[in-house]
């Protein structure tokens, strides 16, 4: 069984400032979809709409979790997470004064995740050996790269079916960006997740994406049905490669 998410004609605003206009996109079961766009184009806001942190003014967001359809608009973030949708937020949002292990265990707060703590923790330490070494270190005292690993690890402890990742590359050195992107792919394959990743680092994101959308000023400006289509699109070249 797999899970998917469909966003239909969503509008969102902060007060009078319109941020998302009539956005429709879908992430099918088992896909990795990239949401591309430079800063301030609405990627994070769209992620927040899915998670119930920002309430859309109009439109529908429907998640299909292992064959069960759920209308996400109007649900609280807690309820949405509890369905099996995890967000690795922009800026990571770890609990800085808790240890690595405590952060991971908090990931397993939701009931479904509690039964799988041991297996998920083992996999997490296997995928990110650094976290095992630093188990009792405070999260806030770790480097940016380690924190990003912890944020991913904490999300996988939630035993999600759908993983949303918001700007995993922010504030990381290029080598760490590549590693983070690889880690997302590894998690996805191991847990057969459905992944939606917002990213401004086009070349890195496209490496693991099956498809992608380019969002400009809150609207979907281009839909690439494959990584090739994204690579060869004029708009993308213009935005990302200055050509």
């Amino acid at each position: 069984m797999a899970s998917s998410i469909a966003i239909e004609n969503v509008h969102a605003a902060y007060g009078a400032v319109r941020v998302i206009e009539d956005v429709s996109l879908r992430v099918d079961a088992g896909e990795t979809v990239a949401l591309l766009g430079t800063n301030g184009n609405g990627k994070s806001t769209l992620m927040k709409c899915i998670m119930g942190i920002v309430r859309p003014q109009a439109g529908r967001i429907v998640a299909d979790i292992d064959g069960q359809k759920h209308d996400l608009v109007g649900k609280t973030p807690e309820q949405i997470v509890d369905l099996g949708i995890a967000l690795v937020p922009e800026g990571r949002r770890l609990f800085p004064k808790l240890t690595v292990e405590e952060n991971l265990l908090l990931g397993a707060f939701r009931k479904t995740a509690r039964a799988q703590i041991k297996a998920n923790m083992d996999f997490c330490f296997e995928a990110f050996p650094r976290l095992a070494e630093r188990k009792s270190q405070l999260a806030g005292s770790m480097s940016g790269g380690e924190q990003q690993m912890l944020a991913l690890g904490r999300a996988l402890m939630q035993a999600p079916r759908i993983l949303l990742v918001d700007e995993p590359s922010v504030g990381l050195a290029p080598l760490l960006v590549a590693r983070t992107i690889d880690a997302i792919k590894q998690l996805k394959e191991h847990y057969q997740l459905t992944v939606l990743m917002a990213e401004q680092n086009f070349t890195q994101a496209v490496r693991i994406a099956d498809r992608g959308y380019v969002i400009v000023h809150g609207k979907i400006a281009f839909e690439g049905r494959s990584a090739d289509e994204l690579n060869n699109n004029d708009l993308v070249r213009q935005l990302y490669m200055g050509m």
Binding site: T76, P77, V81, L94, K97, F109, R114
Partner: protein, 291 residues
Amino acid sequence: MDFPVELFINAVIAGLLLGGFYAAVTSGISISFGMLDIVNIAHPAFIIVGSYIAYIFNISLGMDPIIVSVVMAPAFYVLGMMVYQIYYLSFEKRGQESLRGLAFFFGVLFVTEVVLILVYGVDYRYVEAVYIGPTLKFGFIDLPLRMLVPCISALVLFAALHLFITRTFTGRAVMAVSQDQGALQLMAADPVRIKRIAFGLSIATAAVAGALLIVIQPIEPSVGREFIGRVFAICVLGGLGSLPGTLIASILLGVVESITATFYGPSWAPAVAFGFLLLTLAFRPSGLLGR
């Protein structure tokens, strides 16, 4: 003059016992103030209410004060959840918790005190139990049961709280809630619910601390005020949000006060204790075990 070793050792032991009791009094503040950022200065008032409840059941039915307090703890838990809900809806939700929230708890403190005075007057009240009076003697060492029983009860209470906070999912969420509420929601935990539970627990400890207090000394409604400064000092000294730190700080303060009281007179005890706090903060601002 020779150094009075026996007197000194007895002062240290009395301080250890007193410190154990301080730990029970401070544990609730360590949760509400240390972990939830709620400056509940009315906490000592809840402790005094706990004392009076232990007193009433002890006088009328002859029940053991500490057992009464354990039985009453769930009621205090519910009371605490209700107080938090009022505080949340009236202040925290609107972002006005800092000043108006403080005023709210000041109000709770005075109203509780006045109600107790109106009902029971200002006479000192005390309880009766088999362990009030006898003293265990090991050579020159004195262990008054009146102090020993509260100290052991306090340590049990403390251990239970510590296990809850560090070993349960809700407990870990309590540690996280003041750091990032939004991130906690992304862990499927409702921050308001977590805070309500934690505040309920902190008030539940007041039931027990109140019973221990009236075992140790007779009380009247305004006795709680003496503890306000001390409990917040212990909390800061131990490191905000750290229960083990609170325990160590309680015992340290107990011992320092007891030695000072023995050798220089009781009126110096608070001054030395607070001097100790200032020194600690000067060299280690996050407290003994603060993260």
